[in-house]
Symmetry: C2
Subunit: 450 residues, 2 copies
């Protein structure tokens, strides 16, 4: 990793190529005194805010992702490592990768994000998929599409209705977006193409412990979003707590009442916690596993370890504890470049403060809420939401293709990415990944079915 | 499948939603005397001529595929079954599906296509992937991209050169297109993004038994394509026979000379044979498993079983045995609708004759050959190739997106679909599909690596 020429340069290792990590790397461009090494276990940066559109067949995976190498290919002071960090050695100033490689650093930036958190019920994970990566999104997409195929084959109307029930747990932005998008996909797109499925057969249940959806928003906007969801046919279960998640079943509770919901596909959009690497690195954390950091984003008790984005618990002077949002990670990433330059000279960089431009969430076609300098709901809010998301997408090509796809879907109600791939025989929508792989590997089996 | 109202209608079952089957179904639109059931084991029609661009990260899978249900959603006399045909019962006039369902028919159309044929060496299939489905294409794409990542990690230049060797077997259109596209991807796109890989490190070997590439073309065009391939850095092994294919190794022979080629990714673009369903249905076949058919595309000895496209051996009065090309399947599909209408009335439909508009193949950016009324090579041929392929793509949306992607790639040399998904730790590019699935299913393992 190091050679003679580089040894005098300040080595900055960045773990994670999300919004935070990528912005640190890009902002350090042109600084010949610094050598950047960006490590990610994926070969691509994912634009997480649009992941739910991949999961609901609106966008192709490639439209919300960009190879990390090509983002940084023109940046001379940056290397990209496609690898999985297994351990941090703060004393040795060393990262250990799963394949045995080691990366030495002078400053370390942990921008490794968050993951789904099941509040101590990790066995729920097998039945309630989170939405954190392209793989998650593709898995959900395949399961939704297979469910419709299974329902089409089902002759008993009661069984069919059961099959067409989808449960989304958690009514934050991701949960609201997923619930709205599944309902739209099912009622407005798929029901049309399936002879035995009517729009009203599709049941999407959104379960939330709080008494309203989208709690970070003001109450009036929250209620606007609720009406928008109900217009799309989403069933709201507010004030209900999830007490169990099993294969195709979600149990919810409110006071003494317990309800068992059949669920063909269960989406987990509830708790998150920081990537466990933070804890395993020995950093001080809050109860969500996020690193406690100072105003320079430095991990408590460490001079040269910085944590930003969803992996950090940053207490802002004005806004309090910062939420896990893209703008926070982006601003921290850009700011950190200044701090690192100062640190290289032996100084302490400027303090970070968050500039809150507002928050927004979309519910579906022509439906969204925006809360910033102004409050917006409905079509205008939806346009604003679309514009902001297009502007923040990386790469002109992705921007153009996503814009075109949205425009097209808006006009035609069609979806561009309704593909079921990597499957066994369609007779078995519950085939295990092993079975699927077996079929793919066996040319004989493959050839005997059409 | 049947109900009272339908029982008097002539039931046409079509197996396969490729070019042939889809065109039969579409051409029968509006004929209320006929009930069409189209069965495919995939939920999408694939535009096979552009599959190689998915395999080489130029196009997203969704751009060359379209859900069968949405193609036929407005057609009242058509049903779509997403299922796998296991057996044909000509006496009972019945199809049996893998999930136990049965489909009764009055007329049967087998448009089930072809598959890779390893000339009796079926064990080669595990090491040399054919290019017949989206899954094949995505598997090849992932293996190519992982190979570049592995090469980037390799410090020994000799080992690195070995890793960057790709072998394509068979120099028909698919083989030529794959070889050209892998070389372009490696030398012009990826080499730029990887610090340790130079364009000249990428070695693509195209092995062909015949003395020249693209033998269906005239010799001068064939030689033009050969120069184009060599310009792109493809190494031609003409007149060489493949004698063995193993994991990461291809053995080739010419006279008494034997050569062992290391191969990180081996592509099989050589033999094909008809889908085995043809043989298992008890139809008379040629040595490639294709059904012998008469001038109405009827299987020998069967009044009501028709076979079209790659699954049929059709001897044209003017052109002799027809090749396995999209235009043949499309024309036969459209023609068959007339034959079926006539058959319903108890008559015998018109004879099929192929209208040959010419053939074309592309080698890469600005490089192609066309042989029809005129002969073209180079940039003009490439434009013609692009235009024809855009026009035949199904769906305006796909046309627009593919056009835009090509235009963009032409200007920027970028690729839009360079995603590695569904993987284990990057330390192990050879992880089995089972291992990959295991990781996907296990939130813990996933969460401990970045």
């Amino acid at each position: 990793m190091t050679n003679g020429e580089n040894r005098k340069r300040h080595r900055v290792a960045i773990v994670g190529a999300g919004f935070g990590g990528l912005n640190v790397a890009k902002e350090l461009r042109g600084d010949e005194a610094i050598e950047v090494t960006l490590i990610d276990r994926q070969n691509h940066h994912v634009f997480q805010p649009l992941l739910y559109q991949v999961a609901t067949a609106s966008l192709a995976p490639g439209s919300v992702a960009m190879p990390v190498r090509s983002i940084l290919s023109k940046q001379k002071n940056a290397n990209v490592i496609f690898g999985s960090v297994e351990a941090v050695d703060p004393e040795g100033q060393l990262l250990r990768l799963a394949d045995g490689r080691e990366v030495a650093y002078d400053s370390l930036v942990l921008a490794c994000g968050a993951e789904s958190f099941y509040f101590g019920n990790d066995h729920w994970a097998a039945h309630a998929t989170g939405l954190k990566s392209l793989d998650d999104a593709l898995e959900i997409r395949e399961r939704i599409l297979l469910t419709f195929e299974a329902a089409e084959r089902e002759s008993d109307p009661l069984e069919r209705a059961k099959l067409l029930t989808f449960v989304v747990i958690g009514a934050g932005p991701t949960g609201v977006e997923m619930a709205g998008a599944i309902s739209e996909l099912g009622r407005q797109v798929l029901a049309d193409d399936f002879a035995n499925i009517a729009p009203k057969d599709v049941r999407v249940v959104l379960v939330e412990m709080a008494p309203r959806v989208l709690t970070p928003f003001d109450e009036d906007l929250s209620y606007a979003a609720q009406s928008q969801l109900e217009e799309l046919g989403v069933e709201l279960k507010l004030g209900w707590r999830v007490s169990d998640v099993r294969e195709r079943e979600v149990t919810i509770q409110k006071d003494e009442v317990e309800e068992h919901l059949h669920s063909s596909v269960t989406i987990w959009a509830s708790g998150v916690r920081a990537n466990p690497l933070i804890e395993s690195a020995g950093l001080a954390t809050d109860r969500r596993g996020r690193a406690l950091v100072d105003m320079q984003c430095r991990a408590q008790g460490h001079e040269n370890i910085y944590v930003i984005g969803d992996a950090a618990a940053f207490e802002d002077r004005k806004h309090g504890m910062l939420p896990g949002l893209a703008p926070v990670a982006i601003q921290q990433g850009k700011h950190l470049a200044k701090v690192l330059r100062e640190a290289r000279r032996g100084g302490i960089g400027p303090e970070f403060s968050y500039f809150d431009k507002g928050i927004m969430a979309t519910v579906g076609r022509s439906r969204a809420i925006v809360q910033g300098g102004v409050k917006l709901t409905g079509f205008l809010a939806w346009l604003a939401w679309g514009l902001v998301h297009i502007l923040f997408l990386i790469g002109f090509r992705n921007r153009a293709i996503v814009t075109f796809n949205w425009f097209w879907s808006y006009l035609t109600y069609q979806r561009g990415a309704r593909l079921i791939t990597g499957r066994v025989a369609p007779s078995d929508p519950n085939a295990s990944p092993e079975e699927r792989a077996a079929v793919r590997d066996n040319v004989h089996e493959k050839s005997t079915s059409i």
